[in-house]
């Protein structure tokens, strides 16, 4: 057993005693009660377990089902619970633009893949805010960001449309 401290959605957790070979998704579910992150394939292929790491190379996506919890020591991270604005009582007062766009476009059905898609689109938007792209790269860039995520209800088109409209309607993401 090894002690672990984590910083998730701006909040400090731990130190808690976590086995050295335990994957992050299990720590989120079993130790911290953060159950929004989904366990899908367990092999890093489907993207449902994606969390956001805000280290020197971030923001970037990491698959929490195949990455050991101790890897995240000293690396601030965000999960799907961290995107919406909350009031003083902790209730959701406003969804993030990505979350709202997915609702508006009816992007998902069962919703199992949604936390992964929300995090992928959030990372994409934040990276574009730092380095805007040319208009003609728009479709390829969105595809590249969403492609690694699997959706078995095949909401792909609506996820894609939601992200495309959000990118176009958010100032500063596309070079004039």
């Amino acid at each position: 057993m090894t002690m672990l401290k984590l910083q998730i959605n701006g909040k400090e957790y731990g130190p808690i005693d976590v086995p050295e070979d335990m994957m992050l998704v299990d720590v989120l579910h079993e130790y911290l009660g953060l159950t929004g992150t989904r366990f899908g394939c367990g092999q890093g292929e489907c993207g449902a377990c994606t969390v956001i790491v805000d280290d020197a190379r971030g923001p970037r996506e990491v698959r929490s089902c195949i990455t050991g919890a101790h890897y995240f020591s000293g690396k601030p991270l965000r999960t799907v619970e961290g995107h919406a604005r909350r009031d003083a009582a902790g209730a959701v007062s406003a969804l993030s633009p990505v979350q709202q766009a997915f609702l508006d476009h009816f992007s998902f059905q069962c919703g199992y893949c949604t936390p992964g898609f929300v995090n992928a689109a959030t990372v994409l938007l934040e990276r574009l805010a730092k380095a805007p792209m040319r208009k003609e790269e728009l479709e390829a860039t969105i595809l590249e960001a969403l492609n690694p995520h699997l959706c078995r209800c095949t909401g792909y088109v609506r996820y894609y449309q939601a992200v495309k409209q959000l990118v176009l309607s958010t100032p500063g993401l596309v070079k004039p």
Binding site: G44, E45, R57, G68, H70, Y71
Partner: protein
């Protein structure tokens, strides 16, 4: 020598050069106009030709990805430049449509095209030189009865002086006739057949044997491994090299037939070889190949030695952080997902080359013969620096591979893209 003497020599040289060039030009023009051949062949001979085409792995270089079968265009990168596999469909202008069976045998075994130009040894005529005439005729019969594809050959991108094809005459004089030393001891009919499959048809030595400065195969160290051709090294496949990494006849045969065994998964170029060639061999030939590679009296496979761990504790953590999610806490792997690292042939390899490349680059999804698949592996070049990769690889080799030597960060730096 007097000035007049020099001038005379120069004049003669010029005349000879001009005559050479003219002769070559006329020869090419004449042969380019030769009659289009029709090859009559029995169904049986064509079927044999198809089988031999797989055994000789012709498609690897002559069928481009997504291209028409045997219409050429596969780039082969060499230290001398990029050479493209040519069109070997029966098209009279771009393919072998005007080749007679004699021309075809001559090109296969001597490396000279019908119009007299020298082939580069990227075409393994040095291996094929021992091909039987009957097998060459069967290959010819099959190829000449395929659909002709009008597809021009891309021009090679070979640097001076290797781009002077006539220079291959000299190269051939030096290297093409060298006798092949058998890699193992044996005399049984299966061993003889295996020798023909491995050394001649399969041309395994073209990648697995070390090469000299002029690109010639080092005949003194047959199949002893070559790390200079591609991103991954072609490992030592001598009987001693194989046994030292735990191979026996059964695992080798399973690997050649399916692309994986308990101790290895074929990747990169070798996966193509398995898909296009070895998986299509019949049971007798698979046995023969295995028997030749290990010898009539195969050496006993070595179990990994137990090694005292000396890598620092951090490397152990990298394994749990980044590897154990798929390869398991105990390194046992998951079928069709992640290979077992315990006693894995690449982990046990005295050279850490392939293990380092796999950690840095990851591996693409594997499609094996039939329906077997294996998912991709992410690369960790961005997550781990040279020292961390070296420590992780050292730990893997000590824990699962019985290799005690420390891997240096410099070895990782050399392989980092």
């Amino acid at each position: 020598m007097t000035r007049v003497g020099w001038r005379r020599v120069l004049q003669w040289l010029l005349v000879i050069l001009l005559a050479w060039w003219l002769l070559g030009f006329v020869a090419r023009w004449w042969s380019g106009r030769g009659p289009v051949q029709q090859a009559q062949a029995s169904a049986q001979q064509r079927a044999l030709g198809r089988y031999l085409l797989d055994a000789a792995d012709c498609a690897a270089c002559h069928t481009a990805e997504g291209g028409a079968p045997f219409a050429g265009g596969v780039p082969l990168r060499s230290p001398f430049g990029t050479i493209y596999g040519t069109n070997i469909t029966p098209d009279p202008d771009h393919g072998i449509g005007r080749y007679t069976d004699d021309d075809f045998f001559h090109a296969l075994t001597r490396g000279e095209a019908r119009d007299g130009h020298q082939l580069y040894p990227a075409m393994p005529y040095v291996s094929y030189k021992s091909m039987t005439r009957a097998d060459s005729d069967a290959l010819y019969a099959y190829l000449m009865n395929q659909v002709a594809v009008k597809k021009a050959n891309p021009s090679n991108d070979v640097r001076f002086p290797a781009n002077i094809r006539a220079g291959m005459h000299g190269w051939n004089l030096l290297f093409a006739d060298a006798a092949v030393t058998p890699v193992s001891r044996g005399n049984s009919p299966a061993w003889q057949r295996g020798r023909y499959l491995v050394e001649t048809l399969g041309h395994c030595g073209e990648c697995h044997s070390p090469r000299g400065a002029l690109g010639q195969v080092d005949r003194d160290r047959p199949l002893a491994g070559n790390s200079e051709l591609g991103r991954f090294a072609a490992p030592d496949i001598t009987p001693q090299g194989l046994a030292a990494r735990g191979w026996d006849g059964a695992s080798l045969r399973e690997y050649l037939a399916t692309g994986s065994s308990a101790i290895a998964v074929a990747s990169d170029e070798m996966l193509k070889v398995v898909n296009l060639s070895t998986s299509r061999l019949n049971a007798g030939d698979l046995d023969a190949m295995t028997i030749y590679l290990l010898g009539d009296a195969p050496p006993a496979p070595v179990t990994p030695a137990s090694v005292e761990a000396s890598a620092d504790a951090g490397s152990h953590r990298h394994y749990f952080d980044l590897c154990a999610g798929c390869h398991g806490r105990d390194g046992g792997g998951v079928p069709n997902v992640a290979v077992s690292l315990r006693a894995n042939t690449s982990v046990r390899d005295p050279s850490p080359h392939n293990l380092i490349v796999a950690v840095l680059d990851g591996l693409p999804e594997h499609d094996f013969p039939g329906l077997a698949r294996m998912q991709d592996m992410p690369g960790f070049a961005a997550d781990l620096d040279d020292t961390q990769v070296a420590a992780l690889v050292t730990w893997l080799r000590q824990e699962f591979g019985g290799q005690s030597a420390l891997v240096e960060a410099a070895s990782v730096r050399e392989l980092r893209r």
